[in-house]
């Protein structure tokens, strides 16, 4: 889970996106300083920061200084300035195979909390399903065997797709302990209902493939499909229910959470299809998902008392996405120290610390993730605040 209790991650990443001080990631410089935008803006850095909004990235993924397309009679190769082949295949999020109906909350404002009930208003935003794929034949051609492409329609295709969703959600959660199991701890049950109003939803996919005349490329054909919905051009709304079950036994806690256990999301908007640059169709369309779309999470924690303070060992596993995290926290007085690692679209390492004061909880973490497209580690700072 991205938050628990009254603790909320701060969307530090918005600083990089909104402030012209960071021309590599802030599209605002397009309006405030066009020269800086043209010289420094980096779409890959922007994408990297946009997809990690709860961390301020110190070194977001950086586009290569030079990209070289070498066109030969028998094919095309793509390298950086040093001749190193660029990897075109990459995936972020679930790579278009998302099982959740809605993204996780980026911001949540607690409105009320009483007798096991909690009411909150959240802003949801997520980039998901981003993937660039080369067909196996195109991969082979780029390795120097272009003959596999030489037919019409060519099996050599480059495909890209992605989606973006934003909206407001009002959620009501209820948690209660169940009767104690004699000698085996206690179960806790939690449910959450969420109503969603969509602010924007964009889906896009593009495919390009060469056209051959004999063994020579004589042209190309490409198709772009997009679906766009925002208030004024359609609308989006939905509702969903989450379920959580926790078992506590002495210092051990195990949990099972299921997001989107039941629900629906409906977007109405405009679908457009372009072929070879020409608008082929523009029609009203609906994207609707309903019923069971569960995304299950398992987590566990064990607190080990020490002579001075205590050590908390914890882990979580998102079944649908196959991501997991393992970590430890040392607690001493009001201070916390953490370290962990995990896999979430590449390996991640994390270091962090926190402070617990009466009525205030502050946590900071050094995060890492693998840079999309170009590889390498990206470091970031994440903060969360609780009251």
């Amino acid at each position: 889970m991205r938050y628990s209790g009254q603790v909320c991650p701060l969307p530090l990443g918005l600083l990089r996106l909104a402030l012209p001080l960071f021309p590599d990631t802030s599209p605002v410089t397009y309006f405030t300083d066009r020269k800086a935008f043209k010289e420094k803006f980096d779409l890959l850095s922007f994408y990297d920061q946009l997809s990690h909004p709860d961390a301020f990235l110190f070194n977001p993924a950086r586009s290569p200084d030079e990209v070289v397309f070498t066109v030969r009679g028998d094919g095309i190769t793509l390298t950086d300035g040093q001749g190193k082949p660029l990897v075109l295949d990459f995936r972020a999020g679930t790579g278009g195979k998302t099982s959740s109906l809605l993204p996780s909350p980026l911001l949540r404002l607690p409105l009320a909390s009483e007798a096991g009930f909690r009411l909150g208003l959240g802003y949801l935003q997520g980039v998901d399903g981003v993937a660039v794929e080369t067909s196996p034949e195109l991969q082979e051609a780029l390795k120097g065997n272009p003959s596999v492409c030489q037919q019409n329609p060519s099996p050599c295709a480059l495909r890209g797709r992605g989606s973006f969703t934003a909206g407001l959600a009002l959620d009501l959660a209820y948690a209660t302990p169940l009767p104690e199991i004699p000698g085996a701890g206690r179960l806790h049950l939690g449910v959450r209902g969420l109503g969603f109003y969509g602010l924007a939803h964009l889906e896009a996919q593009a495919e390009a493939r060469p056209v051959y005349q004999g063994d020579q490329i004589s042209g190309t054909e490409y198709e772009v499909k997009s679906f766009l919905s925002y208030p004024g051009q359609g609308q989006g709304y939905g509702a969903m229910a989450d379920l959580g079950l926790a078992w506590t036994y002495e210092n051990l806690t195990l949990g099972l959470g299921v997001r989107n256990l039941l629900g629906f999301v409906r977007w109405s908007g405009q679908e457009e299809v372009y072929q070879n640059g020409q608008l082929i169709s523009s029609t009203p369309a609906v994207r609707e998902r309903a019923g069971l779309a569960p995304a299950a999470f398992l987590n566990g924690a064990y607190r080990l008392p020490l002579e001075e303070g205590s050590l908390l060992l914890a882990g979580d596993w998102a079944l649908a996405e196959g991501s997991f995290h393992l970590g430890a926290e040392y607690a001493w007085s009001a201070f916390r120290l953490r370290a962990g690692f995990g896999r979430e679209g590449g390996w991640r390492l994390g270091l962090g610390g926190g402070l617990r004061l009466p009525g205030l909880q502050l946590d900071a973490a050094l995060t890492t993730h693998e840079a999309p497209l170009v590889g390498g580690l990206v470091y970031g700072l994440a903060l969360s605040l609780g009251f």
């Binding site: 803006f41 190309t220 497209l373």
Partner: protein, 193 residues
């Protein structure tokens, strides 16, 4: 003709930063069939024109070169570079002079080697006596202000290589490279205001 518009999608994926230099390296010699990249010229005076795609079954006589139709790079292109390399061996006969030229011309030009509307962007020559070997490897960089550069920026042009021999003898030639390198920044397409 090569329509390379589909490179646009790759450009978008890999080159979308203000500082990324996107380089398009066109290895023109690879469009000449390998069997025709080397051979013997047994002439009193003669010329060969590469590439030859006129389909008349006579190699080396195509006057209109190779038509390239790229995306309009008027706001993108910052530099153009030509590289060519030919190895020569004088096998027999008397002294000869061998010249290597690369020409570019507007797409409508039917003869890109006659000096009428075309530009000679590379030029090198060598005199060879019997038994001598030599290499012609001229290169040139074009920048804004050069009329040939302005032609390339339009994205639609013809290009070709002319190998000429004057004298009497047999020359073994081998075309090893004829490359056009275009470099620029895709963000140049964004208006300044």
């Amino acid at each position: 003709m090569k329509r390379l518009a589909w490179l646009g999608l790759l450009f978008l994926l890999a080159a979308c930063s203000g500082y990324t230099v996107t380089t398009l390296r066109l290895e023109l010699h690879t469009f000449v069939p390998e069997a025709n990249r080397s051979g013997s010229l047994d002439v009193i005076s003669g010329t060969l024109r590469f590439p030859d795609d006129d389909g008349d079954n006579t190699f080396g006589n195509d006057p209109d070169g190779y038509w390239l139709s790229l995306t309009d790079t008027r706001d993108v292109l910052e530099r153009a570079e030509f590289l060519a390399r030919v190895r020569l061996v004088h096998q027999s006969g008397g002294p000869v002079n061998v010249g290597l030229e690369v020409h570019v011309a507007p797409e409508g030009d039917s003869n890109i080697y006659d000096g009428n509307g075309d530009y000679r962007v590379l030029n090198d020559s060598k005199s060879l006596n019997p038994g001598e070997t030599a290499e012609l490897a001229p290169s040139a960089t074009l920048a804004p202000g050069d009329p040939a550069f302005d032609l390339l920026r339009g994205g639609r042009f013809r290009v070709g290589v002319l190998l000429s021999v004057t004298g009497s003898g047999t020359i073994q030639y081998s075309l090893e490279e004829a490359t056009l390198v275009l470099s620029g920044k895709v963000f140049g397409l964004i208006p300044n205001n």
